[in-house]
Amino acid sequence: MSTDEVESTFFQRTSRWKFILILLVLALIITVIISLGVGSTPVPLSDIVTVIGKNIPFLGGHIDSSAVTPQNEAIILEVRLPRIMAGVLIGAALAAAGVLYQGVFKNPMADSYVLGVSAGAAVGASVAILSGIGFVFLELRLVQIAAFLGAIFAMFLVYNLSRVGSRVPVTTLLLCGIAVNFFLFAVVGILEIVAGNQLPDIVFWLMGGYSNVYWKDIFAVLPFIIIGIILAYFYARDLNLLAMGEETAHHLGLNVERTKQILLVLASLITAAAVSICGLIGFVGLMIPHLTRLVIGPDHRILFPTSTIIGAIFLVICDDLARVVATPFASTLEIPVGIVTMLFGAPFFIFLLKKKKQSYSA
């Protein structure tokens, strides 16, 4: 390839990135709209468009919604939309955190739960469920608050255990995370044994799902996730430097330890916020960054936003499946979305990996 070609391909990159992002945002919007019609009660597309249009400020007044039954409007706005928005938020959060963890750890096995966040949340949630207290703070249930606090607690525990002086060696962090994870899940195991009648609640929480989500839950975690993702994006190029190795990143002018600290705290906050409303949804944080990297390449400036959007799309689609797959057997039966992500995500991921095996090494 000639010199000019290499350069022009390179400089076209920015517009190519913008194009990809616009395309993905459109795909996300379309996914959301279509998903609003999916469920045990089918809702026609025209109703969906009308109801959404009515709720857009200024424009809404001009739209005639008399054709939509109040029942359908309630299904769209109060049942499905919060659930789908939760899917968007959680999928985005888990995928974004996955990119951050894999970038900081330079390790393809790292996922959004690597610092013991999942186990911490699980312990918190289990204790809250066992306590049986219907405590509500700012309209949030105790289970959510406890899961969030448990996640943050586990993250700080792992972080401080693996600190050597002012440095946090990545390998130690990873191993500590694994150890704490096992320990905390052992605690969850004990709690399950003594749970008695509340065992199904704990098991269901652990399987991951957000079928009973309300708008207030979403608004409670929204700031953590949105602000976390935006702040983390400031560090996209620094993640590229970290991929060169910490020593090299340091020589290229990066304040390595501080960047690592900031990114790990942000990633854990994002994850904890997501986990607090959805329980443990596996595989999104591990797989989506990989999948995106296969297609987009390793540059975090584009990898991070695309992974985030693809994570959102992926989880919304998985939740659609969770809603309808079991419907033929029993109209009220639902598979937890955490099961769906693994059930359909894993084979698809393996297919991609096989297909691109030659050119992919993480």
Binding site: G245, H250, H251, L252, R293
Partner: protein, 450 residues
């Protein structure tokens, strides 16, 4: 002009002191080699200069300001590092990796500009990797990868370049190309180059000065001829080395010899009759095996003479370029009478040294076991009109042991007397079974191979 001062630096890993009171002052245009055995603290020195390991005591000054008080990014604008090993996570393209060298010059949300691209292209052309620009870094060979890393360092447009064994993965052409490039930058752009080397001769060829570190302290510093002496090399690296000037490059040239093994103390002394370099390797090998050696007659200035001097082997000498006089011949015979074995190498014979053959003959006649190495047929090294050939034939008839090369000699010397006897019989038997025609056929084939 950029200045770098290392002022009484002491570095520790935990409580272990790895650098002790190291001071160094370099300015733009200096190419300093850092030499020292493994674990002496070379890499640690580079680490402390590159802000990776804060000194326990002392300071590192970049243009007179303490480097540890500067911001990382400001140091990165002036200083680039090529590390020993790099593992790059995820598959960035070579161009991406080189462009990361522009990081210290970019703002947080800035994308790479046309200027950054021009610089990347320039350094990639210099390191000869522009054609690899779009290849994923982890699919490149070790040498190509190393050149990408060097290009990335150059893309930082540094004033100081730290190289930690930069040539590890490179073949000889790449080594020279990269060193030529670095040297050129050093001279033209007045860069400071600090490079850790393991190869004395590469260091001697490219550096203006060098420091030798031993156990965390600077053992020697200064110009290459001053620093690279066989005494220094012996005391720092514990290896014997011959230090000369290279004929072509005129830089100091070091020939390290393999480390002295503990002597097995053979109860045997050998007298070598050699010359013109035919005995040089043998001297070292036999000494290592624990034999005590003598040699003669050798002309002063002969290669073998110089080797013998270096290895401290007693020699009967003759004046340079002079025929052997009767007096020296007698002295040589005396020396031979002290030896338990005599070895005659495939030295060429002229009228000047024919007496050495007679000395060997005398040894055989006195019953001293004598080995004759016949690596080169006597016809090709007889410049006496057949006299040497005749004497050699006489040696054979009187019972001297003929071997085809050094290795055969060594295997004969190393086995016990008993085994030596068996080997001899085996060989005789083999030779008797072979017809003369077959022997000559074999030798002609060998000649062709050579």
């Amino acid at each position: 002009m950029v200045l770098l001062n290392v002022d009484g630096v002491e570095c520790r890993y935990g409580s272990t002191k790895v650098l002790d009171d190291v001071s160094l002052s370099v300015k733009g245009g200096d190419f300093v080699g850092i030499l020292g055995p493994n674990g002496s603290g070379k890499t640690t020195l580079l680490k402390s200069i590159s802000r990776s390991l804060k000194p326990y005591k002392g300071a590192i000054l970049l243009n007179e300001s303490d480097i540890y008080s500067l911001k990382n990014v400001d140091v990165a604008k002036q200083m680039a590092v090529v590390p020993q090993e790099t593992s790059i996570g995820f598959n960035f393209s070579a161009l991406d990796v080189v462009l990361m060298g522009r990081n210290p010059h970019m703002k947080r949300f800035q994308m790479e500009s046309a200027n950054d691209m021009a610089i990347a292209r320039k350094v990639m052309n210099l390191t000869n990797i522009w054609h690899l620009a779009e290849r994923p870094i982890n699919e490149l060979s070790g040498g190509e990868k190393q050149r990408v890393i060097i290009a990335r360092a150059l893309a930082q447009e540094p004033k100081i370049l730290l190289l930690d064994e930069p040539l590890t993965h490179l073949d000889i052409v790449n080594q020279l190309e990269i060193m030529d490039l670095v040297k050129d930058l050093c001279v033209k752009e007045k860069l400071i180059i600090l490079a850790v080397f393991h190869d004395f001769n590469l260091a001697a060829r490219y550096c203006n000065s060098a420091i030798i570190i031993k156990k965390g302290k600077i053992f020697a510093a200064g110009s290459l001829p001053a620093v690279l002496t066989s005494e220094t090399i012996k005391s720092v690296f514990n290896v014997d080395a011959i230090v000369t000037k290279h004929l072509v490059t005129n830089s100091v040239f070091v020939i390290p010899l393999s480390p002295q093994k503990p002597s097995p103390c053979k109860e045997c002394s050998i007298h070598l009759i050699c010359g013109a370099g035919t005995g040089t390797t043998l001297m070292k090998v036999l000494l290592d095996e624990g034999y005590s050696l003598t040699a003669g007659v050798l002309n002063v200035l002969d290669t073998d003479f110089e080797t013998a001097q270096f290895l401290k082997i007693p020699v009967t000498t003759e004046a340079p370029f002079s025929p052997i006089t009767e007096k020296t011949h007698k002295a040589n015979l005396e020396m031979i009478s002290e030896a338990s074995t005599v070895v005659l190498t495939s030295v060429p014979f002229g009228d000047g040294n024919l007496q050495n053959l007679e000395a060997a003959l005398a040894a055989v006649k006195r019953g001293i076991p004598t080995f004759v190495i016949e690596e080169v047929p006597i016809e090709r090294r007889d410049f006496t009109g057949g006299k040497a050939k005749a004497l050699l034939a006489e040696l054979k008839s009187k019972g001297a042991e003929f071997v085809k090369d050094q290795n055969e000699l060594l295997s004969l010397l190393n086995v016990s007397v008993e085994k030596l006897q068996i080997a001899k019989e085996e060989r005789d038997r083999l030779l008797n079974h072979l017809k003369p025609g077959e022997i000559s056929k074999e030798t002609t084939m060998k000649d062709k191979d050579e």
